[in-house]
Amino acid sequence: MNIFEGLLSVARRKSPWVYCLNAGSCNGCDIEIAAAISPRYDPEQIGTLRQGSPKHADILLVTGPLTLRTQDALLDIWGQIPRPKSVVAIGSCPASGNVFAGSPTVVGSLERVIPVDVYVPGCPPRPQAILQGCIQAARLLAERRTRDQLAIREGGR
């Protein structure tokens, strides 16, 4: 590992920019994300900035049970994020479908559509837990162990 690789690894850990996507959420988790980026919790301390363009982001925060109508938009936005990228599923809905599980209008687990790196459980999760999820995802990016990076290394995709 040369010097630039080492520096890049530290930089990825210190500067995770996030893009938030509501995939049919009840807005509860989005309110907690809004709380997590408020001055009270100040994610800029860990280098996290919320970006408006997916092309500037490293981490995709997904809330909601992934409805059929948002599935294509999710895939589109995930595809627009430049590599290396990671996905953090916020709340119980993207993990299991939560109370919407079995509904004919939801896909269910986010896992069926894109590879998820970190699950932040809760309905909704606390802002500290959301920030903890961002830190974990940034560490995975630095160690080149996000599922997208592993899939590329194994020659898939």
């Binding site: 500067s15 100040d42 627009q80 430049p82 590599r83």
Partner: protein, 301 residues
């Protein structure tokens, strides 16, 4: 051939690429940290702008469909290179490059290049947000350049010279008072900070001209923003502070730069974004008043 190392040192080490980038990251951090403190936050650690830059260098650069790849890479590189050349011309303490006749004109051209590249970047990225951002940038460009050029030209008229060293050597007088007002009016527009953060209004038009940019091109644009900040603040220090005339020129330069950046950040945090119409009206009324005052005073004195 003894002049070559002076040009090389000025462009590459100080105040050019390496020193300018380091000071630029430091000043960007001062902006972010002070804004955070004023908003009741803790703010980023001092190495944050540097790591943001390194991380962007290591990201994939997505070329949007239908966009000329060479143009996508060339615009940020031209922007950063122009900012480096502009930095090399400014006679800040420790700059070994000798001043030459007419270097003020070269400097003013080079300082316009980043804004021009930004406008072209937005229009060529085929993004609606980029095009809206670029049109706003172009309109704002016409607005803030009126007081900016008038401030610099009034000092040139007073010194009867287009050489930066000669202009910087003129003792501070009443013309400087009017010129500094015009210069300070133009600065938030030039740096696209609140209340003139109209082209890159992130709550309205995503990231303005840079919406489609990622990876190395975006890193180059971020770098050129830092360098542009150092160049404009350095130009302010050279023109309006006794940088070259005192033994403690370094101290005056660094403290003056920090204070000016703090002032800009304070104004940016305390104000809300104007619409482009109001910004234009502000510059062509109050900015024009300061500009005319500076020019008339330069003619009289």
């Amino acid at each position: 051939m003894s002049g070559w190392w002076e040009f090389g040192f000025a462009l590459l080490i100080w105040p050019g690429l390496i020193g300018g980038a380091a000071l630029g990251w430091l000043l960007v951090w001062v902006q972010r940290k002070l804004a955070a403190r004023l908003q009741g936050r803790i703010g980023p650690p001092f190495y944050q702008p540097f790591f943001d830059f390194v991380k962007l260098l290591g990201k994939e650069a997505v070329v949007p469909g239908g966009v000329n790849q060479r143009l996508l890479y060339a615009l940020p590189l031209i922007s950063a290179a122009a900012a480096v050349c502009a930095l090399g011309l400014i006679p800040v303490p420790g700059n070994p490059m000798p001043s030459f006749a007419g270097d003020l004109i070269v400097l003013l051209y080079l300082l316009e290049m980043p804004a021009l590249c930004e406008v072209l970047a937005g229009y060529s990225s085929r993004s609606l947000y980029g095009q809206v951002g670029s049109s706003r940038e172009a309109i704002l460009w016409l607005a803030y350049n009126l007081p900016f050029l008038a401030a610099v030209l009034s000092l040139a008229i007073q010194a009867k010279s287009l050489t930066l060293a000669a202009i910087a050597a003129v003792p501070l007088g009443p013309v400087h008072l009017a010129a500094v007002a015009a210069f300070l009016f133009s600065l938030p527009g030039h740096l696209k900070r609140n209340p003139f953060s109209i082209p890159n209004a992130e709550q309205e038009i995503v990231a303005g001209p840079f919406t489609e940019y990622s990876g190395v091109p975006l890193a180059c644009f971020e770098l050129s923003h830092g360098l542009e900040l150092v160049a404009l603040v350095g130009l302010f220090a050279v023109l309006f502070l006794p940088v070259g005339r005192t033994a403690i020129g370094w101290l005056v330069y660094l403290v003056g730069s920090g204070a000016l950046v703090a002032l800009i950040t304070y104004v940016a945090t305390a104000t809300a974004r104007l619409t482009v119409r109001h910004a234009f009206r502000f510059y062509w009324s109050w900015g024009a008043c300061a500009a005319i005052l500076a020019l008339v005073m330069a003619g009289v004195w």
